[in-house]
Symmetry: C2
Subunit: 232 residues, 2 copies
């Protein structure tokens, strides 16, 4: 289980206070832990390694330092729905109840910072600002889930892929280019499509000059306007 893994692989323990580079102002963890003096531990997972399973006790809350994580649910026959991708700076694994409602795994080699859920609960019990922040983070996840229900229930394949590209562009574009950490299958499982359909949609956008490739996962959006139009 997680505890064992922690024992064998833990790298670095520190008092939270330094903020992850690149997220100096709006750091979610820092906002909570900074003035409470919680202890955070850094930890690494290899590509495809499970961080926690569905319905597993929610012992820790995580923040991606580097890499990328997916949160997902499985049906008994293996069909998978990814609910969210977590990128550097994102907090994940935060639960109000006792257990994780989705599983989480690293989609590439990933380093996270983590704090005990119990210590956050304790801080929230004495500091109203912390309590407010935990609520806001859960509300933010809910907002994303609500948008994603609309996508999954009502958008066409092309609209889904356009929405995905605009989301990733917003979240991880550097100098107008994005380096996707996830494979076509992961994108399909996020969008409720097959990997082939995702690939066909991307090829079509490429043919129309709306995006450019430099490697299958290195994408430049050349016409956000037209992409937004395709997004419905």
């Amino acid at each position: 289980m997680l505890t064992q893994t922690l024992n064998t692989q833990a790298i670095n323990t520190q008092i939270v206070g330094k903020i992850a580079p690149g997220h100096p102002v709006t750091d979610q963890f820092g906002a909570i832990t900074g003035h409470v003096g919680l202890v955070a531990t850094e930890f690494s997972y290899r590509k495809d390694e499970e961080i926690y399973g569905e319905d597993e006790p929610a012992e820790y809350v995580y923040q991606v330092v580097s890499g990328a994580v997916s949160s997902y649910k499985l049906l008994s026959d293996g069909r998978r729905q990814i609910g969210a991708f977590h990128l550097p700076g994102d907090v994940f694994g935060l639960e109000s109840g006792p257990a994780h409602r989705l599983a989480a795994e690293a989609i590439i080699d990933t380093t996270v910072r983590l704090v005990k859920r119990a210590s956050l609960e304790k801080a929230a019990g004495t500091d109203v600002q912390v309590a407010r922040k935990l609520w806001a983070m859960t509300a933010s996840e809910l907002r994303h889930a609500e948008d994603h229900m609309l996508l999954l229930g009502r958008k066409t394949a092309m609209e889904r892929v356009a929405t995905f590209l605009l989301e990733m562009d917003r979240r991880l574009a550097v100098a107008g280019m994005m380096a996707l950490p996830m494979c076509r299958r992961d994108i399909g499982d996020y969008l409720g499509l097959t990997l082939e359909t995702v690939s066909r949609a991307l090829s079509q956008l490429h043919a129309q000059g709306i995006l450019g490739f430099s490697g299958a996962r290195q994408i430049v959006l050349r016409n956000r306007q037209r992409l937004q139009h395709l997004d419905a």
Copy 2:
């Protein structure tokens, strides 16, 4: 706007303390407002009346007293995704941020109880138990949304309808029978299907003896076991 409507139709204002009949123990509103002495107002909407629009300022938090409400998002061309149905006892319209992320409308004649969001925020600022409860309610909505993403992204039409029937059976069955407040189109918009597909699935379940009708919206589940199996 809402304020106008409130002025013309408000029925009854009271100090919250009495609990809605049928929800004496786990009443969500009561748990928050009971010991804080907040003022709640009762209010009624007719079938198909909008309660609030998407992105409208979130001035009030609501609880269904009687009737039923749907929360939904629209695409520009009219495609609709219902994110949740709210039944008697349910709280809806609770936001951590300033605006409603989904619109809400009464799907049948409905009476709600409502309190000002600002007064809840104020109570949460002084009472940690209230803050905790608000967080828990948002987390509960998130849990539902995560389950629903799996349904919308990965389940077949028959699996979706089976899931829907089991959910409604759990939430509103009385003496083994459920009286659905919503039409086939609403069910379709909730499940990411057309109304025809919903109707066909229900007919098929009827033909297999898994459910019985007494009127299109009066349904008896005759074999929950088999339904659960169809739910994947």
